[in-house]
């Protein structure tokens, strides 16, 4: 029992003191003086003499007693705000997300246990609130649900969205007088909406938030696998890089094992040194998947002794390594030569590339290789967009301009700019192409040979003249880091391998690289216009890419290296893949995220282009969904009015595992066009990333809404605060103070003291 109710004191401090008997200021002063006078009068004469100090003390005690009595006779009261019992509602929201299961220190209860103790345990906050309010309890994670009792709390919510939950509860109780929200949470919010925004809206409605924080702000011992990035789809025999970000606390510099598992079996391992406390570091592992399938991997860091959260030590991801339709590359070569032969050989085993070649062997004599049908290239370089645009990249060798008409040259420019194809010239284009669309397309300026300095006029034939001599390929800085020219993923090893590459021979002289183009290889000694002669140059052009290799001697990287060496093959595969793999597809499928959790809604978006790669708004698209158990569902996709060629559809994922999605465009004319993508549904780790409690957020929620913040030390005040805090539905009531124990005790104390003093001094 307290001597006086705390909120009375607060009310007094706030100046909400009233009196039943009103005397006015003058009356009060006169009354007080009178009482003091009475005290003085009473001690005017004493039965035995006492010293002046004692007399003063006795007078003071008497006066104080009289003043207190006088104060109480004035019927003092405090003005407090109060709810009408059971007429006002109060919502209590309890966080039931997975992060509430965290035990911040091994000797402490979990966050969930702390919350339950506060609400339903010794303090019995919910029970006591129920004396005055209609209490509605909810558990919340991504949304809020009514809570029957603490035993129902399961800490299995995969999201914490304070904003959504508070909005939902206030809207559910919108037709009731809502006095406020009591929110018990660790504040580890990971929703998409800022809870403070919702708090500001509640403040406008005068609904205060009484926030109760549980958990520790900083987790002392934890290794946290933050995120994993890896390509979703692979080309054949690619080295697949998995990059993972790891942060930690409590294990700085410790060497731990990072493992990738497939179907439970470890397939890659690396010992890593953990970063400093609170810092994140990126680690890279390489995989070379062989199985042609959708491969689901789990990457994990071993659980460390004393670690607070182990759920964030692993992560699942997938790669689509199913065999795909090869990328179609058209290679037109004007003469039989080594470069042609060895480019074909380099990519022959690459299942992700199909090289269809058109070789001019003699005047009006052509050899077609790698064709899919007798009709392919039967009338030479494609004349129709639909025929040319069926390829993903075009390579031109030493071709004569007479091989093309103006329309075909324009088509080739459109192929790159609009269709997004790749374009490569091996060697150089002769002067006849100056002024044609191909000049535009090249990443280097074309030059008339007669206008070159004499030492650059010799041509690329093998010889002692400067442009026919041998030279070492000089990789520019950009070239060293380009995926096209990588011979090894390690920088030092890459440099070492390049240093061993045989010399190139002969250069097709061009002008400088165009602005925006990247020179990847340059001539080590020959210069023109103050720049080293570009040997390999690439640029983005419209939606596509163009590249020129200003030599026809890369075959020397094959013939002059041991037969087992794969550098030449690797470089050409990487080059052609770079040219072709980013080309636009007629039908593409995208999702808003890489992985999803059960119950989430997936929005699939498809983009359709017609045969000339213009956006197609007249498609009839179907989304075919196959869930992990093989159940299929087919949904029509809706055309998006505001986005050309875009169609969308949404659905909810209900099972963990790999979903197979296919978008199909059935058409009687072309047969079926379709594209596929897998989708991985995993257990959520969101609650265990950045899982430290956010006390600051909880404080701001309270402050923004004129509520109050609590933790274990002051939660006992919560019931009174809520009961007496002003809100939209409370009324002001006068509470008498005369019966407060404080005053009685004070009066008795004063009288006893005076009596004791008199006895001591022998007064009667």
């Amino acid at each position: 029992m307290s001597l006086i109710q705390e909120h009375y004191l607060q009310a007094i401090v706030d100046g909400n003191l009233t009196f039943g008997v009103s005397l006015g200021i003058a009356g009060l002063i006169l009354g007080a003086l009178l009482l003091v006078g009475i005290a003085l009068f009473a001690y005017r004469k004493t039965t035995c003499p006492i010293s002046r100090p004692w007399k003063a003390a006795l007078v003071s005690l008497r006066a104080a007693s009289l003043l207190l009595l006088g104060f109480l006779l004035l019927e003092p009261g405090v003005l407090v705000s109060e709810v009408t019992p059971q007429e006002t509602y109060l919502a209590v929201l309890v966080d039931d997300s997975q992060s509430m299961s965290i035990r911040d220190q091994s000797n402490l209860p979990s966050r969930h246990e702390q919350g339950v103790e506060l609400l339903f345990g010794r303090e019995n906050v919910v029970g006591r609130l129920g004396e005055n309010f209609q209490v509605r309890t909810y558990r919340f994670s991504d949304v809020a649900q009514r809570l029957a009792g603490p035993e129902v709390l399961s800490q299995d919510g995969e999201h914490s969205s304070l904003a959504v939950s508070m909005e939902q509860v206030t809207s559910e109780l919108a037709s009731f007088p809502l006095a406020g929200l009591v929110v018990v949470s660790d504040g580890a919010d990971n929703g998409d909406i800022d809870p403070l925004q919702t708090a500001r809206e509640l403040a406008e409605k005068k609904i205060p938030i009484y926030s109760v924080a549980v958990g520790a702000n900083e987790i002392q011992k934890d290794v946290n696998l933050l995120d994993v990035s890896a390509a979703k789809a692979l080309l054949q025999d690619s080295i697949y890089r998995v990059q993972v970000n790891i942060s930690q606390r409590g294990y700085a510099g410790k060497r731990v094992r990072l493992t990738i598992r497939s179907k439970g079996e470890p397939i890659a391992e690396q010992q890593i040194a953990l970063p400093d406390d609170g810092k994140a570091k990126r680690y890279t592992l390489e995989l070379s998947p062989k199985d042609e399938d959708i491969l689901v991997y789990e990457i994990s860091v071993d659980e460390q002794p004393g670690e607070t959260i182990t759920q964030n030590n692993k992560h699942r991801f997938f790669v689509d390594n199913r065999r795909k339709k090869p990328l179609d590359v058209l290679y037109v070569e004007g003469q039989p030569r080594n470069e042609y032969k060895f480019i074909r050989r380099a990519v022959k085993d690459d299942q992700s590339l199909r090289l269809a070649t058109y070789l001019q062997t003699g005047p009006r004599k052509f050899l077609r290789q790698g064709i899919q049908s007798p009709q392919e290239l039967s009338s030479g370089f494609p004349k129709q967009a639909e025929d040319l645009f069926a390829y993903e990249a075009v390579v031109l060798g030493n071709v004569d301009k007479t091989l093309f008409n103006e329309e075909q040259l324009q088509l080739l420019q459109d192929f790159v700019a609009k269709r997004g194809g790749g374009f490569l010239v091996v060697g150089g284009l002769n002067e006849a192409f100056i002024g044609t669309p191909l000049e535009n397309l090249l990443p280097v300026e074309m030059a008339y040979e007669s206008r070159l300095p004499s030492y650059l006029q010799g041509g690329p034939r093998r010889g002692d003249h400067p442009t026919g001599a041998e030279y070492a390929a000089q990789l520019t800085r950009e070239g060293q880091y380009s995926p096209i020219l990588r011979l090894d993923s390690q920088d030092s090893k890459n440099r070492e391998l390049w240093a061993k590459m045989p010399a190139l021979q002969g250069v097709y002289v061009s002008g400088r690289a165009k602005p925006g183009a990247s020179v990847l290889i340059e001539h080590p000694s020959l210069k023109y216009q103050d720049s080293a002669l570009p040997i390999l140059t690439a640029q983005r052009y419209g939606a596509g890419r163009s590249m020129v290799l200003a030599t026809a001697s890369s075959w020397r990287w094959q013939m002059m290296m041991p037969s087992e060496d794969q550098s030449h093959e690797r470089l050409w595969r990487q080059t052609l893949r770079w040219l072709a793999s980013d080309s636009q597809q007629r039908l593409t499928l995208t999702m808003d995220r890489d992985t999803y959790n059960v119950g989430e809604r997936v929005t699939v978006s498809a983009q359709l282009r017609d045969e000339e790669f213009e956006m197609d708004n007249n498609g009839l698209l179907w989304l075919n969904i196959t869930d992990p158990e093989g159940q299929t569902e087919e949904l029509p996709m809706d055309w998006q009015l505001e986005k050309d060629g875009t169609y969308t559809q949404s659905f909810t994922v209900k099972r963990e595992g790999v979903y197979d999605l296919a978008v199909k465009v059935p058409s009687e004319l072309d047969g079926e066009l379709q594209t596929k993508s897998p989708l991985l549904v995993t257990p959520s780790r969101r609650e265990f990333l950045n899982a430290g409690a956010d006390e600051a957020l909880m404080r701001r929620l309270a402050a923004t809404t004129d509520g109050r913040f609590y933790n274990a030390s002051n939660v006992h005040q919560l019931v009174d605060d809520v009961t007496f805090a002003p809100n939209a539905y409370s009324k002001m009531e006068v509470h008498s103070l005369w019966d407060e124990p404080l005053f009685l005790i004070l009066l008795v104390l004063l009288v006893c003291l005076e009596w004791g003093a008199r006895r001591l001094k022998g007064l009667s």
């Binding site: 004007g334 003469q335 039989p336 030569r337 080594n338 042609y340 032969k341 060895f342 074909r344 050989r345 022959k348 070649t357 070789l359 001019q360 062997t361 003699g362 005047p363 004599k365 050899l367 290789q369 010799g458 041509g459 690329p460 034939r461 093998r462 010889g463 002692d464 003249h465 026919g468 002969g506 026809a552 075959w555 020397r556 094959q558 013939m559 002059m560 290296m561 041991p562 037969s563």
Partner: protein, 283 residues
């Protein structure tokens, strides 16, 4: 004096000979599959600096004793360099290759420069044809170089060996290069016979001192020497070595402008040779 007279007489003689030879030579060209004669500048006017992109490389090898032995000599040089020059002239005229009639050279099989080229011609000839253990006797280094040359992507054309004894010698040499690869007889449906010209029949291109010797004492199309073409394939089924047995393309090329040599066989020698080059540069 005599010397002087001779010197004066030679240009005139050459001119007269050229006039005589050019007529049948142009007839020879006209035989090739109805293709028009391409009027291009001939070699002396190809004044661009440096080697043409295609160089006809002839392999020099160690050989057994016999006529080809001796300092600076060898069977490798049979028909050399006339056959190489003539053939290159044909290659230049009929194909789009960057080649000219001086773009040929002979290299030791162990010369590292060999790997700067991808087409290699080796003549296997020895006379008389019945002696055993004659002709090439590849050293281990030569066999290793040839094997590596082919595995890297080079193409080897063997030519001009005749009869059972040569066949056996040939097998001995081949086993030195590829002890574990099969020798395959290529029939006329193989792409190598259709890479440029359509060759539907393997003819016996007459070999000097075998089936032809300036029109005296030998039989054309001698049934004792049935011609055939054999190959060694790489792991992908592409021909990396081709061997002309009982036929001599080198002589066909060499005697292009020699009137008594039968034109029909010259044609066949060029067709097959060009087909081999186009195949080698496209496979």
């Amino acid at each position: 004096m005599t010397f002087r007279k001779q010197k004066q007489a030679r240009p005139l003689l050459a001119l007269a000979l050229s006039a005589v030879l050019l007529l049948p030579a142009s007839l020879v060209w006209a035989q090739f599959g109805g293709e028009p004669f391409i009027d291009r500048e001939d070699d002396p006017k190809d004044n661009r600096p440096g080697e043409p992109e295609f160089t006809f490389v002839r392999g020099k090898y160690e050989n057994y004793g016999g006529r080809g032995a001796g300092p600076g000599r060898g069977w490798w040089e049979t028909d050399y360099p006339d056959s190489d020059r003539n053939f290159l002239r044909g290659v230049r005229r009929y194909t789009n290759l960057d080649a000219n009639s001086i773009g040929y050279k002979a290299l030791d099989l162990t010369d590292p420069e060999l790997f700067e080229y991808s087409f290699l011609y080796i003549n296997m000839k020895r006379i008389p044809i019945t002696i055993p253990s004659s002709g090439p006797n590849f050293t281990p280094e030569e066999a290793k170089a040839l094997r590596e040359f082919m595995l890297r992507g080079g193409f080897v054309m063997l030519d001009d060996f005749w009869g059972e004894q040569h066949w056996q010698d040939f097998l001995i040499e081949i086993v030195k290069i590829f002890p574990d690869r099969e020798l395959v007889k290529l029939d006329d449906s193989h792409p190598i016979f259709h890479s440029f010209f359509d060759v539907s029949e393997i003819l016996q291109v007459p070999g000097r001192s075998v089936t032809w010797n300036y029109n005296s004492g030998f039989y054309l199309d001698d049934p004792d020497f049935p011609p055939s073409v054999h190959g060694i394939l790489d792991d992908d089924g592409r021909v990396m070595l081709v061997a002309n047995y009982n036929t001599d393309l080198g002589d066909g090329w060499e005697h292009t402008f020699y009137e008594p040599y039968p034109t029909r066989y010259v044609n066949e020698a060029y067709k097959l040779g060009i087909n081999y080059i186009i195949y080698s540069l496209s496979h």
